[in-house]
Amino acid sequence: MVATRFIGWLRRYEKWFGITAAVLIAVGLYTALVTSSADYYQGEVVRIMYVHVPFVQTAMFSYFTLFICSIWYLWKREAVVDNACHAAAGLSLFFTAGGLITGSIWGKPTWNAWWVWDPRLTSFAILFLTLIGYLMLRTFLDDKEKGATFCAILAIIGFIDLPIIHFSVEWWRSLHQPLSVSTRGISIASDMMIPLTLMSVGVSILFAYMLMVRTQMLYLEHLLEAKQGRLLSEGAL
């Protein structure tokens, strides 16, 4: 009953998230590629920032969502919440991979290296490996309920990496640039801040939309499996 209500809610509101994300990303891409200026030191290459930073932020935001959903699952034991965890993990892996790829491409012209064992990059790579481990664990365990519990515990333990990623550039000497927006102020020009904000907010809302769609997809696939008799009863969901 809770699942039906939750899925109904997702279906009712998802389009507003989708429309908002599409508008923000369209305007963000226009300002990023057409109207924003090049950086004094980096030149045109700075435009990679408008996809790299939103992808990295969304990867961390999606892992935070996975962390919250995992706690929620361990507390309530609702199968649909486990579907949301599964969906958030898949999306987090996608955005983490995107962040690593775009970061590597940005690193080559600016640092003259595709990869360096820098604290920020290494902690972010650990997030990527944690998510692969999470999804492998989910695949390997036959007992769905036990698998969901183990995965939720792993996601909660893995959350420790998030503050390390965020503060790594403050705690250790790093090749990666320090935080552009912090309590010390904003160290980025306003005509770069506008596309960056539009893209960051747009990709985060897109993640929310994708989470809604993917949660429905996983729920409906399980429902279909149950109805086809592969699961013993809908109660097993």
Binding site: A22, E44, V51, T102, M210, R214, E221, L223
Partner: protein, 162 residues
């Protein structure tokens, strides 16, 4: 499902237009030509020439005197004069972009501005490798959900027992 494909069609058109505008800006403001092409065209309109500052050719810049150097690529050299004060990026053996006009009567390129090499291949790669998989991933998920709702609605899951 028709509305689904129409929605995606509209999205593709919108993002295609943004891509086209980005490409137009690239052609207008970023695209460079080589010294060889410049000498072949000898146009007097403003162009962007990319090449390396030849070793032992950079001189000037003292007491407001213009910088003079030779810009080369693939064996072709162009003498360049740059009068601007923003000369931080001028270094011998460095590849730069000189923006200015060809002075036919003097046989030299008068640069009004010096810029870094655009490295646009990296930008295009980053955008394509992040956004194209995102679009495919989202398209697949949305299509799958739409199909699952149709399957459940049409009760195709209930098969008559034989």
């Amino acid at each position: 499902m028709n509305r689904f494909y129409i929605r995606w069609g509209v999205l593709m058109v919108v993002f295609g237009v943004i891509g086209f505008l980005g490409l137009a800006r690239y052609n207008r403001e970023v695209r460079t030509i080589s010294p060889e092409v410049l000498l072949g065209q000898k146009t007097d309109s403003e162009v962007r020439v990319m090449g390396m500052i030849e070793a032992a050719t950079l001189e000037g810049g003292v007491d407001g005197a213009p910088f003079r150097f030779s810009l080369s690529k693939a064996g072709t050299k162009v003498p360049v004069v740059f009068s601007g004060d923003d000369a931080d990026i001028l270094r011998e053996l460095k590849t730069i972009v000189a923006i200015g006009r060809w002075q036919a009567e003097k046989g030299e390129f008068q640069a009004a501005e010096i810029a870094l090499t655009p490295n646009y291949g990296f930008i295009a790669s980053a955008y394509l490798l992040s956004l194209v998989p995102l679009v495919f991933f989202l398209f697949y998920m949305e299509r799958r959900v739409a199909m699952l709702y149709v399957m459940i609605k049409e009760e195709k899951v209930y098969q008559a027992e034989v």
